[in-house]
Amino acid sequence: MASFSQGGGVLKKRSKTEGTRLKVGLGACGIAAGAMNVFEEARKTVEENDLPIRVERTGCIGMCHHEPLVEIEEKDGGRILLGEMTPEKIAPIIAQYMENGHIDPDNIVAGTDYITENDPFFSKQYRIVLSNCGTINPESIDEYRETGGYEGLARAIREIDPDEIIREVLDSGLRGRGGAGFPTGLKWKFTKQAAGSPKYVVCNADEGDPGAFMDRSTLEGDPHSVIEGMTIAAYAIGASDGYIYVRAEYPLAVSRLKTAIRQANEAGLLGEHILESDFSFDIRIKEGAGAFVCGEETALLASIEGERGLPRLRPPFPATKGLWGKPTNINNVETYASVSRIIQNGASWYSGFGTEKSKGTKVFALAGKIRKGGLIEVPMGITLKEIIYDIGGGIKEGKRFKAVQMGGPSGGCIPESLLDTTIDYDSVTKTGAIMGSGGMVVMDEETCMVEVARFFLEFTQNESCGKCTFCRIGTKRMLEILERITNGLGREDDIERLETLAQSVKSGSLCGLGQTAPNPVLTTLRYFRDEYEAHIKEKRCPAKQCRGLISYRILPEECVGCGVCLKNCPVDAIRGEKKQVHEIDPKKCIKCGICLDSCRFGAVEVR
């Protein structure tokens, strides 16, 4: 049990309790896994039997690999996490627990009084931004306030001069969590100093990287922390209007934000005369239509203005000329959520975490071929290895680690040799990847790195706004080359051609999207050049993934003629009599891999 408190707050016992509570993780992820049914069933059970236990909803608890998750908060503050819950399981568990306090250990994935194999998942984390996420009811402003929420804002408005707030944020060392890592306090200072009024505070919640769900989880799990951070920013820079630009594909986040904004308004924490001061601030929600480029700040502002989401040339930066040409401070979700905690607990508390140049913690969405994927928050300075092997529990199915992709389509792939890299802005940038907003996709030996590069290029090409030449046409040409290579039609000079194009697109593009679009190609070329060469020169895909380069064959010595592959083949490419060796017709085969997956005798081979 000791292991839970080491991490500084994850699954700590609660000091103050109000009787037994059962909380169901109802982030979009949990709901997708079936948590809503669990929630309804639990509530029904409790109501029908009139049990002295409160059934509540909470945000993402973080352990995606055990969804749906349910937490039981015991009378004494002890906490038990139940994984893979179903409506069928939950009723008897409640009944038994209420009867004798016992829970079948098979259902427990972690707990303050239990030792489980998931303990390292928590012990290496430190939750600041996510401290409420998965523990409080995101639709209750009271629960947020019970954890100290809005105390920072109250302190700011009542006790601190706006300039001092900016100094405190500067002193905390907080850098923009959207990816670029620009010092937040400095941005605020520029916006405050810029001439023009009104000024705006904008929250970039247009999370678009494939595999990223940090901001969604934060908004779904702790929306007030973002609102509080924005309000503090507005107070500091002298803004009266705020916008949260959030993807329309995040309906739950939108609805929880709306609830939170309404509650904050009702509580006098938002709107006219906040906390009876002269300071007024309103927040509006602008739902984005799902263009990736709208995560780029100038495109985002254009989109709020009702224009097509096209990036604008910087300078001028939004701090001087942003929304409707007025000074605008734009930060992402995690940055604002961090601000709430910083003002609540002080700059020196925050800067006590992390490294010299990268302070605090960072939230990551850990995904891919990892055993324990999930939403995690770690102190800066932790190594990649610790994240992947200690928190993430290593690679699925005992396969070999190949690379970790950080920073989404703008980021890069970091190979095994660099797993000792520490998580901080500068070290990550050195690898050719970027910190990004926190997407972390783990790849194993079966991942083709050329295909990974192709995938991301296809993504950026589809999402390029089409305005500047390099991003519009350059990424298309790069994609064509990568498609050629993965189809086995690569040419000798393709690598050189790719590098030339990549360099030009990187230095020639107008906005961050284009400037970083070649990163996945450049890092894979840097660390996995041999895979490219194998595709081009040997017409071979080492990961056996590229359909243009592989073929399927049935090993006669292993085949027992069971007919399963024949039955499952979608294109009737397999022939063979019962109990006789089967054969694949390469002309018909579409290389879908169903035969490989369905064969129980290991008789299908990929070459």
């Binding site: 040339l313 706004c465 305005k467 030449t469 020639g508």
Partner: protein, 889 residues
């Protein structure tokens, strides 16, 4: 202006501190490849070709980077060359290479960059992509859009948004599929496009290209013949034909910009319908005649005519020189002052009203000042349709942060750009403006210092304000009180404020009062005599200002010198060496009454078409049939000309020298581009030939320059105007002597009134003459289409006819619902004076209870319906308000 010193490629350059690196380089003859930069537009830095190295460190786009003292710039390094080469190759890889047959050939920026970078043929081949062929949009009569040639520089997008203010295009789709598209990808003809061709003129490749591609053999610099804005144009000539027109970038009025008529509406010049020989009506039919025969006939008939039996209608479309000669002919040869022209039907109240309050009836300020105003109050002007290039300036002012107040019964285009929109009932302008003034006074927002120092008659005016309380104003105008207050406060506080108006103010039986109301409000707020202020009547025709200036009016000689003032009378008798009448003549509207009364028997009509343009047209038709002798001088056989006994073929603006005076009093040179078509002759020459056949002296001019010399000698405000001085640029009157550089702004120190003070005028609200009743329940108001001009004699000769085919009766959906009428059906519009059939357009641009029609279409002659009740002072008929009913024919 501040300058800075920078070094570009080792060359020391001194340049304006507000320049970008690219501008500084181009100004000094250093080429930096660029595709998305255009000097008229804000830079966006999207083509990425103009990258330079700054201070040996960073690369940045030169189009967007401002110069800084001591900056060192290199336009070419190994890295830059590499990036540029890749960019150009990327663009060329899927760009058509049929340069020789592309209309962009020779002026294509992509071509220029490719040749600058140097493109390797072998490498090109390896780069070539099989291009997807997208359909070419050929729907517009004047230009095509070929997306296959587009390089997505966005110049058209920015031009349409920022220059024209229409925003018809934007980028559509994403990534490689990106293209420039109209809203919902509609064909150009169905889009919001106004066909001005500004995008076509700026497209750096051959993507937006004119349908007519031939290059001119030579170009002649002149002035657009359409509205009163007076845009400078270059006419392109090939052989004896005018084939193109483009904006003159050096002309301060339009700065190279044009509207659809100015750019494409030159088709009439060489149109086969042009009159090429004199016609004499024999037994009811026109027969071609020789000039000798025609002139002899005209001279003989005119010679027999008594002074009071003669009337001349001159032309606001003709040059100053033409007008001067017509009025001189009327006065000196025919012995009468009865010469007038169509200003009577448009801005007579401006001349009469502003003469009373300011002492001078013209725009007080200049077009170029509009963009710097902080408030623009546009009342009774559909600027976008009638003065498109001035509308560009209004939109530019809005872009720069000005507040725009639009007062108009209809939801005109400018309403989209306005912060305050007042939809008042037609004819209630005095109530609206006086109520605004009452708010200003009640809230103590008037400019007391200005009123005290520069104005007179305030007390009388102040008393008359009492009646215009907000309740009355809201009831009368239909505009909510709050909006009236808001507009009043904005105009009074957001200075400088510029008031623009057009015929929505003047064409009323109380038109002069309306004008006086506008001058009152400008005086009250001190918005006169300073840059970007003033009262600015937008004149309708290319030379309506000049025709007034040159005395084609029955009461004044050139320069508004009164015919009944003895010393003036003597001056002209001496100058012209003949006896002159000191009795003012009768006006345009009165002439037709006089014909009916048989007092006027002979009419000499130069370049006008009253059969379509005069109110109560049936009255005009009847009059024209009663004439003893009727001479029409025109470029086409107009509806009016059909009534003539003799038709004399005139040369168009493209075939003669002369001057036009635009709405801001700017006298500009009109230059002959081609010889007169057929046997036609310039108007001044025809009139002179008639005079000479009548053995009269004073008409021996070899060219218009000599006429201008005589004008300058007799017209104080034109005293300093000579052709030589007009060579490079126009001059704004008053320009009393050759040392004067003209006067862009009037009344800066003194008003032109006798006392030198601006005069407040007490006003009363007077309803329009004919209001709706049970039998005629709707108000008919008249308007203009962007695509046609006046009676459309010049504009129904080609593509403009495609853009607007026929007369439309615009009606609010509610009224259409009540009447059970459907969009697109033919309806009959009936007034007390006649009836007209036209197509119904159901649109909420038209307010409930009001229908509107143009008067461009001879087959639906709207003026058959309009009322000829006139303003008692200015004698203008009330073509903006009459009562009608609309029914199924």
């Amino acid at each position: 202006m501040d300058t800075v010193n920078i070094v570009i490629d080792g060359v020391d350059i001194e340049t304006g501190a507000d320049k970008t690196i690219l501008e500084a380089a181009l100004d000094h003859g250093i080429y930096i490849p660029h595709l998305c930069y255009h000097k008229d537009l804000d830079p966006v830095g999207i083509c990425r070709l103009c990258m330079v190295e700054i201070d040996g460190r960073r690369l940045d786009v030169s189009c967007k980077t401002p110069v800084r003292e001591g900056m060192r710039v290199r336009t070419e390094t190994e890295e830059i060359t590499k990036i540029r080469r890749v960019a150009v190759e990327l663009l060329l890889a899927n760009h058509p290479t049929d340069c020789l047959s592309c209309s962009g050939n020779t002026k294509c920026e992509l071509q220029r960059i490719a040749s600058y970078i140097g493109i390797d043929d072998r490498r090109m081949k390896s780069l070539r992509r099989k291009t997807v062929t997208l359909p070419i949009d050929t729907s517009n009569p004047y230009f095509d859009y070929d997306p296959n040639r587009c390089v997505l520089c966005g110049i058209c997008v920015r031009t349409c948004a920022d220059v024209v203010g229409v925003s018809n295009f934007d980028f559509a789709y994403r990534g490689y599929d990106s293209l420039i598209s109209t809203f919902m990808g509609k064909p150009m003809i169905e889009s919001r496009c106004v066909s001005c061709g500004e995008c076509v003129a700026r497209c750096p490749v051959g993507a937006l290209r004119p349908k007519a591609v031939p290059q001119p053999a030579r170009e002649v610099r002149t002035v657009c013949p359409y509205c009163g804005v007076g845009c400078g144009i270059w006419l392109g000539v090939r052989g004896e034909t005018v084939i193109a027109s483009r904006g003159d970038p050096d002309n301060v009025v339009n700065k190279g910009r044009l509207c659809v008529k100015g750019r494409f509406g030159h088709e009439f010049i060489n149109h086969p319908d042009r009159l090429t020989a004199p016609l004499i009506k024999k037994n009811g039919n026109f027969e071609k005649a020789s000039w000798d025969e025609a002139l002899d006939l005209v001279a003989a008939r005119f010679a027999k005519c008594k002074p009071d039996e003669f009337a001349a209608l001159s032309s606001a479309k003709c040059t100053n020189e033409d007008n001067y000669i017509v009025q001189k002919f009327t006065r000196a040869v025919m012995g009468t002052n009865t010469v007038d022209h169509c200003a009577r039907l448009c801005h007579a109240p401006s001349v009469a009203g502003l003469a009373q309050s300011f002492g001078s009836g013209a725009m007080t300020n200049s077009i170029g000042e509009i963009r710097n105003a902080d408030c623009i109050f546009a009342i009774g002007t559909n600027t976008t349709s009638a003065h498109p290039v001035i509308a560009y300036e209004v939109k530019e002012a809005v872009r720069r942060g000005a507040v725009l107040i639009v007062a108009n019964p209809r939801r005109i285009d400018l309403c989209e750009y306005a912060q305050i929109v007042l939809h008042h009932v037609p004819g209630t302008d005095v109530a609206l403006l006086m109520a605004m003034m009452k708010v200003i006074v009640d809230e103590d927002l008037q400019d007391d210092r200005f009123i005290e120092k520069r104005c007179e008659n305030f007390e009388a005016f102040f008393e008359s304000l009492e009646r215009f309380d907000l309740e009355f104003a809201q009831k009368t105008t239909g505009v909510p009180k709050e909006l009236i207050c808001e507009a009043a406060r904005s105009y009074a506080t957001r200075k400088p404020g510029m008031l623009l108006y057009a015929m929505g103010i003047t064409q009323h039986t109380h038109g002069t009062d309306n004008v006086l109301a506008t001058s009152n409000i400008a005086l009250l707020t001190g918005n006169v005599g300073l840059p970007s202020t003033g009262v600015n009547p937008l004149r309708g025709q290319n030379n309506v200002q000049g025709a007034c200036d040159l005395g084609a009016l029955p009461n004044v000689y050139p320069g508004y010198q009164k015919v009944d003032r003895p010393q003036i009378h003597t001056k002209f008798e001496e100058a012209w060496g003949t006896k002159l009448s000191d009795k003012p003549g009768i006006t345009h509207t009165e002439i037709f009454d006089a014909i009916h009364d048989k007092t006027v028997k002979v009419l000499y009509e130069v370049g006008e078409n009253p059969a379509l343009s005069e109110a109560n047209a049936n009255h005009v038709y009847a009059a024209l049939e009663k004439l003893d002798f009727f001479v029409v001088q025109d470029i086409f056989l107009t509806e009016t000309a059909r009534y003539a006994d003799v038709v004399l073929p005139a040369a168009s603006f493209a075939e003669k020298d002369g001057t036009f005076t635009n709405t801001e009093r700017r006298v500009q040179r009109v230059r002959k581009a081609i010889n007169p078509v057929g046997d036609s002759k310039p108007d001044w020459l025809i009139t002179c030939l008639i005079a000479k056949r009548m053995k009269k002296h004073g008409f021996d001019f070899d060219n218009p320059s000599q006429i201008m010399e005589e004008i300058a000698s007799l017209t104080p405000s034109y005293g300093g105007i000579t052709y030589k001085r007009l060579d490079d640029r126009g001059l704004q009157w008053p320009c009393p002597n050759t040392d004067s550089e003209g006067t862009p702004m009037l009344h800066s120190e003194f008003f032109a009134t006798v006392t030198g003070k601006g005069k407040f005028m007490p006003l009363q609200y007077k309803p329009s003459y004919e209001l709706p009743d049970e039998e005629y329940p709707l108000i008919l108001t008249t308007e203009r289409s962007l695509y046609h001009f006046h009676t459309a004699t010049m504009t129904r000769k080609g593509g403009l006819e495609v853009l607007r085919k026929c007369e439309l009766v615009e009606m609010n959906p509610k009224d259409a619902g009540t009447l059970g009428l459907k969009n697109g059906e033919t309806v009959r519009v009936v007034s007390r004076r006649g009836e007209v059939n036209a197509t119904l357009l159901v649109t909420d641009i038209s307010p409930v209870g009001v229908v509107s029609m143009t008067f461009h279409f001879a087959e639906s002659p709207t003026n058959v319906l309009t009322s000829d009740a006139i303003d008692p002072v200015a004698k203008i008929p009330e073509t903006k308000v009459c009562a009608v009913r609309v029914e199924r024919p």
